[in-house]
Amino acid sequence: MKDIVELKNNLLAKKTIALPLIFSYTSSVRDLVKSYVDAIAENNGKQIIYAQNMQEIIDGENSTFTADESIYLLFCEKDFADFDQYASLPVIFLRRDLNKLTTASNIPQIDFPQLVSWQIEDYIKAKAAGLTEESAKWLCSICNQDLSRIDNEVDKIALFPVSEQQKMLELNKKEHGYDDLSSSTIFDLVNATMKKDFVAVKNIIKDLDCIDVEGLGLITLFTKQLKNILDVKLTNPAHYSSLKLSEKQINYIRYAYSSEKVDRVLDKFYSLLGLDEELKTGNLDLKNDELVIYILGKMLVA
């Protein structure tokens, strides 16, 4: 498999797609990537399993009880030192990065090129011809060039007659109908912060006005995550069944936070509980924006 064109042709010809594959893309085309993954699963007659880590895939493949009917999807935060060791597994590695692999690999790599602005604007104009060029550009920018969000918004406008479309967009704009447009959620913020993914946190903070993030809610989510990490780290594996966590959650915490030291997690947990106390007893009076930044700072620096 050389590139996305060949993959597309093979899918259209209903050919079975050989795995593994490496998909490289940016978030703006994630829906496109998903549609390709779905098409591969359908063509190969298999079901998709989202794996948390490589071990889960290896275990699944080695299990006597797993029939040979799954395609695994694995998000790669970082490139593997040696992708080729997994050359026999039915897996699609998902990289949110268009750069070349850091290490050479024989596994075919499919790049999903980022669409340029004019292509997306043309797409908008094709679906809602009544919109002006400026409006198409504006829609593109508030949706952060995310195709699925643009598609959602344009679909709504396209319900109206062409002559009314521009008027409806203006009206919706006036009534703050587009104020909450952000693909990020409070959970993305919590996950990015827990992983200390500074770039992701920075991007989400830019959209903070559009996301429904309450300081106290943030504290609750962080304390819950930290408590789970503490439970897993400090509990003897033989007693995992006593934790109110699924095996998947336990495995995820063990691998994702393996380098986190217990003392530091405990310090963060303790200080967030203290913050919660100060806020609820009225000793600390902060505006929501200030509080959110304060909490994120505490979590990222500690």
Partner: protein, 270 residues
């Protein structure tokens, strides 16, 4: 007022009150269950006025209606039930009462009281109840309660009623507290934090009562310190005492506060 146990000074003061010498804005401060509400009703009875608890229905419209009608009455407001937005309305009402209106604010000890209310109101603090007074409240209940519980853990008549109504088993609480005092130094952190799951914070009545548990823990740790003179028990007792004091604050997340205290205890012994 004859059935009202203890609080001799308040009773004496009440006997001297009449419509001509009674302050219009009064603050009654005491532990939960000490009898603030009952006292406010007695107060209204003494003045010969109707009493109305408006804690949960306070609003600008309601206050305006009271001002317009100007009907002589005693209005009772439990601050624990008043949220921040309603507090502004209350301040206005409390600062400028009509001559014919009497306002009684009920405040729990430890609850943050706005300075403006404190400055404008006539403050009465409830005296602590003695073991003898508490034993008189419901003799059938208090007779079955360990003597050490009276005053140190059961502080008010309200606590005695709570034990009867919720059928609280004092022995279960004693056992848990003893185990914590004995075994905290060998417990793991998840073990220690699991204590927080055994407690009733609101209405899980099959679990251990939060207030009695923390008061018992604080008391038992002090007792341990007095008998062993080991400084760790004193440090632990101080931490729990701090929690007991904070726990009367209405908006406190008791589970989080308890977890934080348990971590502090765990850190002291490690």
């Amino acid at each position: 007022m004859g059935e009202y146990v203890g609080q001799e000074q308040l009773k004496k003061y009440l006997s001297t009150l009449s419509l001509s010498n009674c302050p219009n804005s009064i603050i009654l401060r005491g532990h939960e269950g000490c009898g603030k509400h009952v006292f406010a009703l007695e107060f209204a009875k003494k003045l010969g006025l109707p009493a109305r608890d408006i804690s949960e229905e306070i609003s600008w419209d309601m206050i305006s209606a009271i001002y317009r009608s100007a009907t002589p009455a005693v209005y009772i407001i439990d601050l624990a039930k008043v949220n921040d937005t309603k507090l502004d309305v209350l301040l206005k009402f409390f600062e400028e009462p009509l001559k014919s209106i009497y306002i009684i604010c009920l405040v729990n000890i430890g609850e943050k009281l706005p300075q403006t209310i404190l400055n404008r109101g006539f403050l009465f603090d409830f005296e602590p109840y003695s073991a003898e007074d508490l034993a008189k409240v419901l003799p059938a209940v208090t007779a079955n309660v360990p003597q050490s519980w009276l005053v140190s853990i059961i502080r008010t008549p309200g606590d005695v009623y709570k034990i009867r109504e919720r059928n609280i088993d004092t022995a279960t609480i004693d056992n848990l507290v003893e185990r914590i005092c004995d075994k905290l130094d060998i417990a793991s952190l998840p073990n220690t934090l699991s204590i927080a799951e055994k407690i009733n914070y609101k209405d899980e009545y099959d679990k251990i009562d939060y207030d009695f548990f923390i008061r018992n823990l604080s008391y038992s740790l002090y007792k341990r310190y007095m008998s062993t003179k080991e400084s760790k028990y004193l440090a632990e007792a101080d931490v729990v005492k701090n929690l007991v004091q904070k726990s009367s604050i209405n908006h406190l997340d008791k589970k989080n506060a308890l977890m934080r205290t348990l971590i502090s205890l765990w850190r002291i012994v490690k």
